[in-house]
Every structure is written in C-alpha cells, then in structure tokens.
Amino acid sequence: MTLFLVGLGLGLAGAMAGATLPARLRVITTAVCGSGACVVTFAAATRVLASNHSVNFHSGAVLPLTGIDLTLDPLGALFIATTAVVGLAAICYSVGYTEHALRSRSAMAMFPLFLTSLLLVPATSSVATFLVAWELMALTSMLLLLVEHRHSEAARDAYQWYATMTHLGAAAILIGLVLLAAHSGGQTFTDIGTHSAALSPALRSIAFLLVLVGFASKAGAVPLHVWLPRAHPEAPSPVSALMSGAMVNLGVYGIIRVGGSLLGGGFLWWWLVVIGLGVISAFYGALHASASSDLKRLLAYSTVDNIGLVLIAVGAAGALSVTGHRALAALAMLAALFHLINHSVFKGCLFLGAGAVERATGTRDLDRLGGLARRLPLTAVLFAIGAFSISALPGFNGFASEWLLLESLLHGFAAHGAATLVALLAGVAALALTGGLTAAAFVKALGIGFLGQPRSDGANSAHEVAPSMLAGMALLAIPCVVIGVAPGLLASPLRRASAVALGAASVTPLRPGLGLDLSGAAGAVQPLLLVIAVLAAMALTAAVVRLVGRRGARRAEAWGCGRELQTARMEYTATSFAEPLGRVFADVLRPDHDIEVTHVAESRYFAQAVRYQTRADDGIERSIYRPVINLVSLWGAFARRAQNGSVHRYLAYGFVALVVVLVALA
C-alpha cells in the first residue's frame, strides 16, 4: 500500500509543479512526476494482482469526521493498472502535444491531478473517500475541458453539458451510497457489504437504481450518454484519451462494485436492466459512430458502443450468478473486464491518433482529410492498429475480448429462465450487429481519413507529429498487438478480479496458456497460431505470384472512365461513405439533409453549384433532452420576469411570505 501512496504523492507533486513552476520547467516536471506516478501505481497494482491479497489503509487525519479508507483489492488493482498504462501514454503524448496547446498553468496543474484522481477512485473503500475522489475527478476533468474554451464556442457548450450531467450523476450516486451507508451502520464498503443483506428489498433496489443511473451516466450508457460525444471532441487529446480510456471504465467499475460486492448480486431484474442498457447503448453507439464524420465524435460514439458491450457482459454475469450458474457468471465477468481493458488500450491509442491528425492538419472533419497515409506514415500505422483492434480483426486485442464476450453469451444459453435467455439473445444480436457497424465506422475513419488524396490544404501540407506523441501512441498500440496475439497472459489477473467482483473465488474459467481455452465448456482459440497461419499463407501467395507473375508494377493514373481531370473533389467523403447506412437506419438516425442549389444567372434549369449537407444529430438528445431543456428555460423565463431588479419586489416577496407564515401559525 505504501507503494500506491507514493504513486499518488508523485501525482500530486506533479500537480503542484504544474501550478507553480515557470513555463519551460513546467512541462518536463509534470511529465516526469506524472509518469512516475503511473509507473509506481502500476507496480503496486500488479503486486496486488500477483499476490491476490488486498491491502488496506486508514487514516483519520486528512478528511474531517470520516478519515480516508483505501483498499487495493484485485478488482480495483485491475482498473488502476489499466489507468496507469493509459495515463503513462497520455503523459508521454502530452510532452509533444504541449508545444501549442495545454501549456497554461491551470492545464498543467489539472492534468496530473485528474490522473491522480483516476488512480485513486478504484482504491477507495468508504463512501466518503469514494465521493471525494469521484468529485475531484469530475471537477478536474471539467476544468481540463475548459482549457481551450477561449476560442471555441463548442467547448463552452460541451462544458455545460458535461458539468450538468456529471453533477446529476454524482448526486444520484451520493444519495444511493448514503442511503446504503445510513441503513447499514458503517460507511466503509466492508460494513455495507455485510449489512446489505439485511436491508429491505425495496431499499436495496432504490439504492441500486440510483447508483446505476449515476455510474451509467459516467460510463456513457445510452439515455445518459449525451455529454460524451460533446465533451470528448472538445477536450485536448491526451485528456480525451484518459477520459475514454480510464474515466469511462470507472462508471462500469462502480456498477460492478456496488451491484456485485456491496449489494451481493441483488435481484435478476437489476441485471436484465443492465443488459437492456448495454444492448441499446451498443446498437445506438455503433450506429452513430458509423454516421458521424467528425473523427473524435466517431470515437466518442464508439466508446458508448463498447461500454454497451461491456454492460451486456456485466449484466449477463450478474444474471447468471443470481440464477446460480457461478461458473458461467465468472466467465461473463472475466469477458467484461477483458473487453474493458482492451477498450481502454485501443480507444486511448485511437484518441491520441485523432489528436495527432488534428494537430498535423488542423481539422478533425473526415470530409476534409484524406491522403494522410503518405504524409503521416507512423500516425497512420498506429491509428490502423487501433482501428483493426476495435473492429475485432483476428490478431488484435479487440478480437480476443469480443471472442470471449461471444463465448460467454453463447454458453450462457445453457441457463434456464425465459427472461435470461431472451436477454442473452438480445445481447448476442447486439454484439453481432455492432460488430458489423463498428467495422464500417472504422473502415470509414481509416480509409476516408488516411487513404486517397487530401481534400484540404491542411491535409495536403500535413507532416509527421512530434516523436513524443508517436511514442505515446506506440505505448498503447504495442499492447493492442501483444494482448491480441497472446491473450492468455491476462487470464490470471482477470480471473482474480472477476472472482472479487462476483465473490466466487473457486471458479477458474480459463485454462492457462497463451491462447484462450475455456475450462467449463468446449471453446478455445489460439490467436498466435492463427496469425502465424495467415501470415504464412500471405507469404506463400506472395512468393507464388513473385515466381510466376510478372513484376515491375507501373504507376498510372487511377481509372476514372477516361475522365480528363481526376481531382480529390471526386473522392468519396465520410458523409457519402455513411450515406447508405444512414438511409438503411434512417428511422433511428433521422438525419436531416439540406440541399442548396445555386442556379446559373441566366436560367433556372442549369445549376451552377449544389451543396449537400447532412447532419445526424443525436436522436435521444432531440427527443428526451430538448423537451427537458425547453421546460427548464421556460421556468427560467418566468423566474426572470419575477426577478426584475426592483428591490421593493424582492422585499415584498419576503414580506408576503412572513405574513403568510404568521397567519399559518396563528
């Protein structure tokens, strides 16, 4: 535990350094302290995972009344390790990134603080400490969102959405946890855990639902996801990598911790609700990812999609453990945690890549990118690794966890109970459909963004980004391939973490070995051998072609039906690429197209220029959030009329109230 505390201390030191030192020294010292914090906490976490016994720490000093309770158990350690890896990459990336942005004193102080709070949250083991850490994380991320707001209205708008959603969520969590703590006598998680069985079902359900709302809004599950596609694109890239790579996991961590260990599994309908949330989030996120043409917005929506998949697995684990299938539940929970880790790694890499593209070309709009593969070769390769991982292509880590998710759901069908089976079937259908949509979205991101010809001078004059940014991306791309090829490496830490989550230590869902080999049921995959086989087959074909075929490829103009002029404007853009999908899912996306035709002066029959623009803004935001916002602004307008600056009117309100009270008393 002291190692972990040293790590946190280094993080805080980084924050202090960021706030005080002059500009030149500031970036370097925060980077050194931050990476020190990540490395040390990673070491502490891996030690706990390896030894499989949790360490705890209590000090009455720091926080008045309640003091601080920290417990590093395998479940928390797994999240801390992931956050540390993503954090290290983000910090290494930010060294290069801060030549232009993120240099201000506040940003440099907030960034390590945000990282430290992310590392702290999974280790807290009492309601008070948890809420303090949670609030610290929310505040620092909000401030970091505002770092670049001076010159972009969208950043301010994103901040407002993010601030309200986070605080509503935090309030829900607060009420839920306090409700539990009040009724179970102690406020540490262990007390709640022991006493929660005695609580009345209604109370436990209310507490769970409240906590679920709070954590689902942080994780970005659908009805509460609206802040995510707004906040991530506006935040600076290392921050949005941390948000998508680490902060979103803590939402799921909360659901697992409260639902699993605190409330001891609870009722079946809880977990069916979680699966429902997961299914909707997965489908909705994947659909909007394939429809959006802003690179970071695409990545944000795919975060919603992947979190949906994780929630399906968490829900399945909960449902199976409640209906008594402990082995299957352990497998499902293990699959959920595995996909969460993979998602943090490849999504972090993708966001850093998107940041590098934005830095090099000045724009995030895929319609105006193109031809970057030849101009930013390294960024293109690293982004491609992330894209292939998220599309679950064999040989990358996305495939390993998607395979495990599908296996756990498939073998979950052995369970009885119509409701569970229907939920699992919906889960499998969602997984299958989102697989296709994600592949489409990332072929678009990779193909339209990086291949073809540049469609703007920003893209045309792009040149490779700073080496430290590339190092940051590589730090996340390498695990994508390593975990993809040898997923067995993570089997034992995952098993220990899922055992803590479900409280079922005895079950070992995976047999040891490099690949994934289910012990409970007949299902296995050796990604390493598969990758070797594919590479061998490719090499063999290439050799045959080189032997038999004619060599010496000639460069010629691309075939465009003999057109005289072949320009970049004739290329497919992200909007046109996603148009068929938009049309197929028109009733969910409800894109609005606007077409402006400017006619030639002389006659209306000849168009000089046609401008086509389509926007698929968020349906849920339009149908749920807009009415609520209109209601609030209506009420605000009424309040404005009541508050018209006249002192007398205010005194009159006070006076009338006083009289009314007196009359009531009499």
Binding site: E402, I448, A537
Partner: protein
Amino acid sequence: MTATMTTTGLGASIVMSVVQLVMIVLGGPIVLGVMAKVRARAEGRIGAPVHQPLRDLRKLLTKEPIHAEHSSAVLAIAPFVLVGTAAVAIAVSPLVTTAPVLAHSADLFVVVFLLLMGSVALALAGLDAGTAFGGMGSSRAMTIGALAEPALLVAILALSVQAGTSNLPKIVAATLAHPSWAAGPERLLAFVAFLIVVLAETGRIPVDNPSTHLELTMVHEAMVLEYAGPELAIVTLGEAMRLGFLLSLAASLFLPWGIATSTNPLNLLIAVVALSAKVVVIAVGVALLEVRTAKLRLFRVPELLTGGFVLAVLSVVTGLVTR
C-alpha cells in the same frame, strides 16, 4: 463410420487441411465456371468451359501489374490479406475432415472474423486509389457487410447453441452423431439464413451483379476496378475461394454426411467426392436462382438481409424452445 473423432496425428490433419486447401483453391474458380455454364445453358448458349476462370487466372498472372499513382501500400497488401484469411479459414474448417489442423481453434467466431478481415482489407483497398468508384464500392460493401455479418454469426450460432459448442468440427461431429437434428426446423431456418448471407458476402445476383459493366450498380466489382495483372488474379482467386469455402461450409454444416471422421485414405476420397458433389449441387441451385431473379435495388437489399437475420434469430429461438 464412428461418429467420435479418432485421434488423428498432427501429420494426418495437416495432410487433410492441405487437401482441403487445394480442393478449394482449384475448386473455387471451377464452381464459378459451373455457375457461368449454368447461366449460359439457361440462355441457350454453350458458354465458356467450366475451367475458364482458371485459364483467366493463369493469363492474368502474366499481365503487367499497375498501381494508381496516389495509392499507398494498402492497395498492394489487400489481395494477399484476402487470400491469406480465406486460406486459413479453409484450412481450419471441417470441410473434408472433422479433424483439420488447428481444429481446436476452428471456431465459428474465428471464421466469421477472418472473413470480416478479408472484406475490411478489400474495402480499404477500394478507398486507396481515391476514385469515386472505389469509394462507392467500399461504402456499399461495408454497408451490406455490416448487415450480413450479424445474420451469418447468428445463423451458425443456432447450430452451436444446439451442439453446445462454437467449435465447428465439434458441431459437425455432433450433427453426425444426431441425424435427427439435420431435419430439425432450426437447421432449415439457419440454412436459408446462411444462404442469404452467402449471396451477400460473395456478391451474387440478388445482392450484387458480378458481370455488370455500369459502375453505378456495382458493389463488389467497383472495389477491384483498380487491380490489374497478378494482383487482380489474387483478388479474383480470393473471391472464388471465399465462395467455395462458404458453399462447402454450408454443405458440411447442414448436410454433413460423407465427411471423413477418420484418417484412412478411403474415407478421405469419399469425403472429397461427397463434398464436391454437394458443393456443385448447391452452386447449380444458386446459379438457377441467379437466372430466375433480377438484381435487387440497393436499398431493398437491407430488407433481404434483415429477413435473413430474423430467420437466424428465429432458428436460435426455436432451438432454445425445443431444447
């Protein structure tokens, strides 16, 4: 023939996988030739000989490869990824034998995602040249792929739920062991869904017209417009192998009789003959379907694929209900 899988040596399984590979590499183009022959005969023509596609491939190898001027390495690598993933999927799946090499990795999801990897590579290659046709082809192919993949996954899932495992050789072995399953309702539904997906994945008539010349109507062909010479040969071979593989997978999953469960050469021979016969029958059926129906409008194809998906889900549900 004993239904249980006898312990075949690694050597034997390698031999059998190689046999499968050779069969599909040569058989794929011939299946295309057979389908072309059936179309010709339906039009009253003699039509090109059945092995014409092989001749075309041999001739294409001697042609000069051309790369578009703005294209990157993706255009050059994609054909080999297409063939590589198809080859591994073929070598690993239970087509001729229930014990191919890497049998324990021969998983339904592995096969589906290998095919996905091939289509993603081809779609990226389509976008690489930066022409309107390539973009159009990739966009449509990914849209159809996004809708076909779920149906493919859930269709085979219906079988694995019934067999209790997602390992293809084990599914085939289980089907051999329970002949009553083959005629079950979920098998029928899954078979129809699977065929719909095969038409979509390989770009046959109802979904896409392989012999069209009008770029606006192309889906698959538009992506490979840029390829010439040996690379075109590899891409066409890859496509043919995928078609051959999917048809033989349909044959071995849904009509598994005749598949070799032991390693003696006689079984192997019977299995090869049985598989070829089954694949040719299915290919002729598909060709006749192509002659009878016209190409669907692009935005009617999702209805077809959603129908396939629903059939697959229904087959899973019936499987669960009648368990």
